[in-house]
Point group: C2
Chain length 294, copies 2
């Protein structure tokens, strides 16, 4: 009999992740704030729960994939939260991206109730979730990590324990910083090439063959070429991560001038009502700055 | 009998490129301002010339790999330059990285003397030059490009004609913009991770497995881990490229805020006397800003 798993938060990422666990043969209990989103998973064999608390009574390992720290606190520590239903020894795996400090605080609260917590944010987008090829950065106790590793490996191609509670979130922020600047790299190269009348598809291919290559140039730059600004990953969520990165850096007095710049350029997307568009829409900001249509 | 080739400028890049052509069996005439640098190539079978003009009398295809536009002008158009010794139909291939506008002007001057010119800047560093795996972006007439393609393929793995005169240089600038911001991405991620006490080697591996991956993170970030700031590619040369990119962008009224920021951060390397260090030394600037030793 496989470990009974609970999954809270069935959105763009959580939906395909939960489905992956179900396909791997784990008994799955699900909960989502908007009940509607549970239906496809229930149709595929999952059991719906009436609350996170009720879900926790029926699972030994509980995933959360929600928007930000307040939502994690609510489903984990709230009145109808996991903390009130879970047996001692239950493992909560938060795959949301939240501030490292919040992750540490929630882990401490749960530890008092003898509930284990891992912060396990992911990278790879909905495609990676659907394929089970996410990159997962895990903070928390190493023996807890080892116990749930086979389950995490259903979801991720690269699953790595990186340190104590909060460290998974911290490394995720480093990941987002790099993604942000690699996206700006694509956008500025394309902005200059476009002005010069160069063929952007050819420029992309040449750059991919050398030292300018990046995952963003390979996988997401084509969205710019086809004017496709559907997420993927929304600017609203990216801004949350960049804000967390800058706050963490502020706490450490670490100046991050490039990250701050990208955060401000995305502010211009927000000003234009583009918060729900893909992060590649930073190119549209550069085009507007240059007085050109994107 | 293979086409006789001339090679002018036998530095960090030109040296290994010339050697590659010699190894491929091309008769090679060489010239370098500092005569000393000709010796290893002459020992390997090349013929030394007394001037670019003399070199041009003995070659049908002539490579130049020098510092910047003034040096290209001097060896190509100067009194003892290629232009005075070359027969009509000679092809000059400038692999230096110079401003697109300068490349166009030199090509026009040579065209009046019935000498063909290709701007063919490269990416891939001394390692790529030694292995013959450079990425080469070529601007100029397409039929001239086709005629010398087999020779360029001795030097490069990816050799691509991208448009009329100057376009090779323009695409190289796009390449450098992307490299610069991808390097800043590595430096800022490492700066935050280091403050948090994370293991930078582990952070690099995790980031490489996901959307934050880049050539810079894979190939050059290890230099930061081992505190190795030997070039590779010097900050002085990178600053020349970024300055050319910003000037080209200024001509087109294309705002490039990220490129401008990186250019200014490298200014801090210059202020610290680090112009001859590797471009990864931008990490040292971030460390100094954070009050830490690198």
């Amino acid at each position: 009999m496989k470990t009974p798993i609970g999954f809270i938060g069935l959105g763009l990422m959580g939906g395909p992740m939960a489905r992956k666990l179900l396909q791997a043969g784990y008994p799955l209990v699900v909960w989502n704030r908007t009940a509607e989103k549970m239906k496809p998973l229930v149709a595929a064999g999952a059991t719906p729960a009436g609350s996170p608390r009720e879900l926790a009574e029926r699972a030994e390992v509980i995933f959360t994939m929600v928007t930000d720290a307040p939502q994690v606190r609510e489903v984990v520590l709230g009145e109808q939260g996991v903390g009130h239903g879970a047996k001692a020894g239950t493992v909560v795996i938060d795959t949301s991206s939240i501030a490292p400090s919040a992750a540490r605080e929630i882990a401490e609260e749960l530890a008092r109730r003898r509930i284990h917590m891992l912060d396990a944010p992911v990278s790879g987008g909905p495609e990676g979730a659907a394929r089970g090829t996410l990159s997962i950065m895990v903070g928390g106790e190493e023996e807890v990590f080892r116990a749930v590793l086979p389950i995490l490996q259903v979801l991720g191609k690269s699953v790595r324990h990186v340190g104590p509670p909060g460290t998974g979130q911290l490394v995720k922020l480093c990941n987002q910083i790099s993604c942000a600047l690699n996206l700006l790299a694509v956008a500025e190269a394309f902005a200059l090439a476009r002005w010069a009348g160069a063929d952007l598809a050819a420029v992309r291919e040449v750059l991919l063959s050398g030292a300018a290559a990046s995952w963003m140039l390979e996988h997401w730059a084509p969205k710019i070429l086809s004017h496709d600004y559907q997420p993927g990953f929304t600017i609203a969520n990216f801004q949350k991560d960049l804000r967390n990165a800058l706050q963490e850096a502020a706490a450490g007095k670490v100046p991050l001038p490039g990250t701050a710049l990208v955060h401000q350029l995305y502010r211009a997307n927000e000003a234009a009502g583009e918060s729900q568009e893909s992060t590649v829409a930073i190119y549209k900001v550069l085009m507007r700055l240059a007085g050109e249509p994107a």
